[in-house]
């Protein structure tokens, strides 16, 4: 039986956490179907060094395609190599991360193969021999169970939902022939401009601490940044649209329907009322904590735990306690 294809995302030669997640999910499907996981890794020269670690998460084979043309992501180049691989080796399902890269790449791969696509899935499983994905729609107001009508099923997986699990397999590394010519690409990535370099992205951080209009001014966001720092590099700061529209925070931090969809292990909403469009972006978080002075604020209906009170008193105390705890 053809295997399960797992796209293993790298950046600057390093495997990204979402790659572990995708391989982990692929392993679950492969075990249910009694087949193999074939991970594919594309990047610039030197990427192969990272390949072997994918075996730990359950890849039976890791195919590495290195090319100068792949020092940066190329939608056209990656699509060509991946569809070529899938056409040659076959696969029951092709899994991608629902990252910025995966959301760009997966629909192109599906369209070139002439098959359907389900994005941002929060579950994949085998039901009666068929691969079925779970995905929120209508901003999370509905949950859909979707199945592909053709082969392969092309799915992208919401980051942070499929926790990487070790399940060691051979992870045999093979070289993939990458004959692409950058001159053929109609789109070329010229540079990557990093945001504040050492900060985590809200879309990927295991802990997200978001602030809303209750913070009262952009300067007060330092209270959130200090708390995030206290968690020792595992936390990112997010924002409601109200404060992004006011120009207090960049759009890259906005959580919600017209911002990012996040699913951290812990989401802390501070001075955020909990409008439906905000919930759209964070309701699949594992645990939600709300800090709000209004006990009637709708956010408390979605939160697992809450503190009612003034955030200007609560945050400094919390930072202090977290620092103690982490020390």
């Amino acid at each position: 039986m053809p295997g399960i294809f797992a796209f293993a995302e790298t950046r600057d030669g390093e495997i990204r956490k979402v790659a572990h997640e995708v391989v982990t999910a692929a392993r679950t499907l492969a075990d249910a179907l009694g087949t193999e996981v074939h991970a594919v890794l594309l990047g610039g020269p030197g990427t192969a060094g990272a390949a072997a670690e994918l075996g730990r998460y359950g890849a039976d084979k890791v195919f590495v395609g290195e090319s100068d043309a792949f020092a940066h992501y190329s939608a056209e180049g990656f699509t060509t190599v991946i569809t070529g691989f899938i056409q040659e080796h076959g696969c029951e399902a092709a899994l991608f991360p629902a990252s910025a890269l995966g959301r760009d790449l997966a629909p192109r791969v599906a369209a070139r193969l002439g098959v359907g696509y389900a994005s941002d899935c929060t579950g994949v499983e085998v039901q009666d021999g068929q691969i079925v994905a779970t995905r929120p729609e209508y901003a999370g107001k509905l949950i859909a169970q979707v199945a592909a009508t053709g082969t392969p099923a092309v799915f992208s997986l919401r980051p942070n939902v499929f926790l990487p699990a070790e399940n060691a397999k051979a992870g045999e590394v093979q070289t993939l022939d990458v004959s692409v010519n950058q001159a053929d690409f109609g789109a070329i990535v010229r540079e990557i401009k990093a945001g504040a370099a050492e900060k985590m992205d809200v879309g990927e951080a295991p802990i997200v601490i978001s602030g809303g209009r209750g913070l009262q001014s952009p300067d007060n966001f330092k209270l959130l940044e200090e708390l995030a720092d206290a968690f020792g590099g595992k936390a990112a700061v997010g924002a409601s649209r109200a404060v992004v529209d006011a120009g207090w925070r960049p759009h890259s931090e906005q959580v919600g329907q017209t911002g990012k969809t996040v699913a951290p292990t812990l989401y802390i909403a501070v001075g955020i009322s909990g409008a439906i469009q905000h919930l759209a972006g964070m309701r699949t978080s594992r645990y939600i904590v709300a800090i709000n002075k209004d006990p009637e604020a709708p956010i408390f209906k979605t939160a697992d735990y809450g503190i009612v009170g003034d955030l200007f008193e609560i945050l400094p105390r919390m930072t202090e306690e977290v620092r103690k705890m982490m020390a």
């Binding site: 369209a111 070139r112 209508y138 789109a187 697992d304 735990y305 400094p316 919390m318």
Partner: protein, 251 residues
């Protein structure tokens, strides 16, 4: 440079709308909901208008696939300032690959520099139709674009990625999918609304094929367990951290 854009727009239920699962358990009943122009498509329309204005030459055509009610959505875009509209009329509301195929077929017969899309439609939340159309047409694309410039037949687009952004250079024609960024949508003026009524809105019949995925069932999200207020004020902080550590085991 002249900027000739085609903007693909979708009619979607308002963000506040209640959506119910229909009797068959696998389709959606949005009856009674207010419908709007997809918010991300507003960014795309705005971007097209801005670039037409900056270039002083070109035009903006808006295209939608859907039932006859989508004409209203196209009028909204015309009222914002688009020049012409095309409704590719289908029975029902196709999604994903089925929509991409209809749009690609339409775009094949047209001349344009930019095919603009929203990053996602807020009903199916798919984030796919733009790059699918690019693939079907064999043209380059950049997704999640916050801002772009057009010079000498080349587009330089900034796309949002984790922890920063990518600067992508594309040749035209190309597909861009827009997210919130430099193009805060304008409101239609009364004059715009009046003018929209006289602008051309062409209707053509279209047939949707297989989208390649089928919904087997819809359900409502599991209600999150009623939240627990662990206390009031700063004194509740130790108790909160305790439950996060011991009960939830997340810190």
């Amino acid at each position: 440079m002249r900027v000739k854009s085609i903007v693909c727009v979708k009619r979607v239920p308002d963000t506040e709308a209640r959506v119910r699962i229909a009797a068959d358990g696998k389709s959606v009943d949005a009856a009674g909901a207010k419908f709007i122009l997809n918010p991300y498509d507003e960014f795309a329309v705005e971007a097209a208008l801005k670039h037409r204005e900056a270039a002083g030459a070109g035009d903006v055509t808006v295209v939608s696939v859907g039932e006859s009610s989508s004409a209203e959505t196209l009028r909204t875009a015309l009222a914002m300032g688009a020049d012409a509209a095309v409704l590719l009329k289908t029975d029902g509301k196709p999604e994903g690959l089925a929509v991409a195929r209809i749009l690609a077929e339409e775009l094949k017969g047209r001349e344009y520099d930019l095919a603009l899309f929203g990053m996602k439609a807020i009903d199916d939340d798919l984030q796919a139709v733009g790059p699918m159309v690019a693939e079907l047409l064999g043209i380059p694309a950049a997704t999640a674009v916050t801002e772009f410039s057009a010079e000498g037949g080349r587009i330089t687009a900034h796309r949002e990625i984790e922890g920063g952004h990518e600067v992508v250079e594309l040749r035209t024609p190309c597909v861009l999918t827009l997210t919130k960024g430099a193009y805060e949508p304008r409101y239609a003026s009364l004059k715009g609304i009046m003018a929209a009524k006289k602008k051309p809105l062409e209707e053509k019949a279209a047939t949707a094929g297989d989208a390649g995925v089928e919904v087997r069932a819809f359900s409502y999200p599991a209600e999150r367990q009623a939240g627990r207020i662990v206390g009031e004020g700063a004194d509740a902080v130790p108790a909160l951290l305790r439950v996060l550590r011991e009960e939830a085991k997340v810190i």
